[in-house]
């Protein structure tokens, strides 16, 4: 240390002569690239749980088994008619539609928009949500009009000894 600082006053008019902050916060090219690599790492790590969840869904680990449940007698349901039921839980309202002699489709009928009950409009051949005029294709459950963007969850049905049973809830395939 020189005795430069002991002179009072300094023989300069700059009292911050020994504070050098030039480039103190400079983000150079290397530092910027490091940040970008770090960001890529964060993206990669945060992708993992999504991939894991998706893999779980795909592998069917998330599928639950439900006891089969009788919905209606075949002769009580004319072709083109529908009946409401609840499956798999008693509050999961659902609708069964008989499309032809042998073809039945069933969906959970809570609209995928805001969960209003979707009903079957026989003469238009569509499932309609009364709340915001959402429409669903009866063969696939896909939304065809209105605000809903996701299909109705399909319920697997089986005809046995003159009655229709709900056996499971199908995963929606793209």
């Amino acid at each position: 240390m020189s005795d430069k600082n002991n002179k009072i006053p300094f023989n300069e008019d700059n009292y911050t002569h020994n504070i050098n902050r030039n480039n103190e916060r400079k983000l150079d090219r290397r530092g910027f690239m490091k940040t970008l690599v770090g960001a890529a790492g964060v993206f990669a790590v945060s992708s993992l749980p999504w991939g894991a969840l998706a893999a779980k869904e795909l592998s069917g680990l998330g599928d639950k088994k439900y006891p089969k449940q009788k919905i209606a007698k075949v002769d009580s349901l004319a072709i083109g008619d529908s009946v409401d039921f609840a499956f798999p839980g008693e509050h999961d309202s659902a609708i069964l539609i008989r499309l032809s002699e042998k073809k039945y489709v069933a969906y959970q009928n809570a609209c995928t928009h805001l969960r209003c009950p979707v009903f079957w409009k026989k003469d238009e051949g569509e499932m309609i949500c009364p709340c915001h005029h959402g429409k669903f294709d009866v063969n696939s459950g896909e939304p065809t009009a209105g605000p809903p963007r996701r299909p109705l969850p399909e319920i697997q049905v089986k005809e046995e000894n003159g009655a229709v049973y709900a056996v499971g809830v199908k995963r929606y395939e793209a």
């Binding site: 090219r29 993206f43 999504w50 991939g51 893999a55 795909l58 793209a174």
Partner: protein, 63 residues
């Protein structure tokens, strides 16, 4: 002192792809297209070593 901004540009492209695939992944998850979700997640993971390699090559080109 000759610096190259090519790696920087490449890294910015990687970041852009990360953003695109992350958004795609999340959307595909909620649309229940799970295989697309996995594809996007894998791409996102692969992008990290790519970014790292670009960085490694890039810092050698002087700073």
């Amino acid at each position: 002192m000759k610096r190259s901004y090519v790696p920087v540009t490449l890294l910015l492209v990687v970041l852009m792809l990360n953003i695109i695939f992350t958004q795609y992944m999340v959307h595909q998850y909620f649309y229940e297209n799970y295989s697309n979700t996995i594809i996007a997640a894998v791409i996102n993971v692969i992008l990290f070593p790519i970014a790292f390699i670009i960085y490694k090559k890039g810092v050698k080109v002087n700073d």
